[in-house]
């Protein structure tokens, strides 16, 4: 069953077009991540789905019914915000139950759902505290709890991890993934962080300048990017793009090689000098300037003794390189 369908959705603020002809379907139980650089329209798209912004044209369908003129509270959605957006004057329990009270649910139902969410998120010790007495991670869990109790058809997450520190971010990421598995819920998640996108998504939607660049599973996009933008956006360190190397490069185009596909090899096709070495323990990143003065990143698994200033010869497998034409389209 289709949980969400967007048809030709456009949104403009005055003369600025923020979203251009977005078409997308999300199946029931799918975890979809919108990813793109800042200003690409991903948050606006989420707001249009939530009903916080009206689409300038096009239709938004949730579970088969068109909701263009339905207010946010009646769309069967719940949203988790980057800044948590908890009600500062209410306790944790009241924060979670407010939405249900507004829906005029009977007291017993409210009690049961809130208790379940509190248990699920391990918030038992904090139910009577105010948001100002909680840490960032706890606040975010309360915000997630507030979404869960509404039992929505669609969960919307707007960069929920951006305000957390690195360690907490990873834990919360795993919690969200587990949550999705237990609830079998449909979730739409907005982020600018490609790691979050790759690790969480069933389906990634890459956006740029208000357009959908490519839709697919993380590995599809990684192994088979449709254009240079998608290829460069996903993967860390980012893909290398060479214009001048003595290789078979399309006219005016570029050749893309992922850092992990390059390996040092005597007599390799690319020659250069190591200008910087990053030793991460698990792997080593070499920054190389080719003889044509193009920058290149090489990722070597494990520890490596290469030093700055050494000359290096590199090669790669043609099967895992990508060619893009002058309009950044994939040609091979």
């Amino acid at each position: 069953m289709t949980a969400l369908a967007l048809t030709d959705v456009c949104k403009s603020f005055g003369s600025v077009e923020v979203l251009k002809d977005i078409n997308l379907t999300v199946e029931d139980g799918e975890f979809v991540v919108f990813v793109g650089p800042s200003g690409c329209g991903k948050s606006t798209l989420l707001r249009v789905i939530a009903g916080l912004e009206d689409a300038s044209s096009g239709t938004v369908e949730i579970c088969g019914s068109v909701v263009n003129s339905v207010p946010p509270a009646k769309r069967g959605i719940a949203m988790v915000f980057q800044s948590y957006a908890l009600y500062p004057h209410l306790s944790v329990r009241d924060n979670m139950s407010l939405g249900l009270k507004q829906e005029k649910q009977p007291k017993s139902v409210i009690e049961e759902r809130v208790n379940k969410a509190i248990e699920m998120l391990d918030l038992g010790a904090y139910v009577d505290r105010r948001p100002s007495d909680l840490s960032g991670g706890q606040r975010q869990r309360v915000a997630i709890g507030r979404a869960i109790v509404r039992e929505p058809k669609l969960f919307l997450f707007d960069e929920p991890l951006s305000n957390l520190d690195a360690a907490l971010r990873m834990n919360t990421r795993i919690e969200i993934a587990e949550l999705q598995r237990t609830l079998r819920a449909t979730m739409i998640y907005v982020t600018h962080d490609q790691t979050e996108a790759m690790t969480l998504a069933d389906k990634i939607v890459v956006l740029r300048d208000g357009r959908v660049e490519q839709v697919g599973s993380p590995m599809e996009l990684y192994n088979n990017p449709a254009n240079q933008f998608v290829a460069g956006f996903l993967g860390s360190p980012a893909m290398n793009f060479l214009k001048k190397a003595p290789l078979s490069i399309p006219e005016n185009g570029v050749l893309g090689i992922r850092p992990e596909h390059l390996r040092p090899m005597a007599g390799g096709r690319i020659k250069g000098t190591v200008i910087h070495v990053e030793r991460l323990g698990g792997d080593t990143n070499l920054l190389v300037s080719t003889d044509q003065k193009e920058p290149l990143t090489v990722r070597i698994f494990g520890q490596d003794g290469t030093r700055v200033g050494e000359t290096i010869e590199l090669d790669f497998d043609d099967a895992v390189s990508f060619a893009f034409d002058h309009e950044q389209r994939r040609v091979g």
Binding site: A73, K74, Y84, Y87, E103
Partner: protein, 279 residues
């Protein structure tokens, strides 16, 4: 932050300047209060001396309280001030919310139009206001004063509050919308509590000019039963003879309610003034 900058001399100079300013600002009030407790002769003989056993007298307060209507004047001033503040804050914050929150045609123009009142003194329109009040039959009512003061206070209130309301997180308001709160509840329950310091600032800035105003009470409501305190105190000031004891006592008493209101608002006020600075 305080450790690095703590320099004894600087601290001393800063406190010195503040104490000096306080003394200068408090001096007139001090002179009024001490003289209100002295006999008439003592006031003129040594205006700056503290009251002692010889010069101490409560004659001024007795005159004021015997005048009988004094409590009525007090009550009138209180009704006018509190009523005006209530309407200024209510309508000012509502207009500010609309300007800060909603995108509509002419939003900017409307904001400028509302702010224009800050620069144009309302007293220019006194004659027109008087004519209007005569026609609507509001002359010599407290409503005339409340309406005029509300109009006078709104521009600054809208200007200050809309700035503060822009700072309230959009996410919070949107979370309320998704939870099904009406725009009114979002305004009253989520936004207003967060701009409380700004509301207190607006209240204090408006309260004192309204309480002290002589102009509009004199023109719009000079009748005995609607006189405000400032206007009522004028009976002691005559063209030839002025009852200084009574005037000074009336003024000393007039300070008390404003001070009480200020204490109510002051904690919020300090937060309001500093909140922009340290963020």
């Amino acid at each position: 932050m305080s450790i690095a900058r703590q320099n004894r001399l600087n601290t001393f100079a800063a406190h010195g300047a503040l104490i000096l300013y306080t003394l200068i600002a408090m001096f007139p009030v001090f002179v009024i209060v001490i003289n209100s407790f002295k006999t008439r002769k003592a006031i003129f003989r040594e205006p700056l001396a503290l009251p002692n056993a010889d010069s101490f007298s409560l004659i001024g307060y007795e005159t004021v309280l015997k005048q009988g209507d004094f409590f009525l004047y007090f009550q009138n001033s209180m009704i006018v001030t509190v009523g005006s503040l209530f309407f200024i804050l209510l309508f000012g914050s509502m207009a500010a919310f609309a300007l800060a929150e909603y995108r509509f045609k002419g939003n900017l123009i409307m904001g400028l139009y509302l702010a224009l009142g800050i620069m144009i003194p309302i007293r220019i329109g006194t004659v027109a206001i008087l004519e209007m009040m005569v026609q609507t039959g509001l002359v010599n009512t407290l409503w005339a004063l409340i309406l005029v003061y509300t109009a006078q206070g709104l521009p600054l209130a809208v200007f200050i509050l809309s700035e503060f309301m822009r700072q309230v997180s959009d996410d919070l308001k949107n979370a309320g919308r998704i939870d099904g709160l009406s725009e009114y509840r979002i305004f009253f329950r989520l936004v207003l509590p967060l701009v409380r310091p700004a509301m207190a600032t607006v209240a204090v800035f408006n309260m004192i000019p309204i309480w002290n105003d002589l102009w509009f009470p004199l023109i719009l409501a000079p009748a005995e039963e609607v006189k405000t305190l400032t206007l009522g105190s004028q009976v002691f000031i005559g063209q030839f003879v002025t009852d200084w004891n009574a005037v000074l006592s009336a003024l000393s008493l007039a300070i008390l309610p404003v001070m009480a209101l200020y204490v109510v608002f002051s904690r919020q006020l300090i937060r309001g003034i500093t909140s922009g600075a340290v963020k």
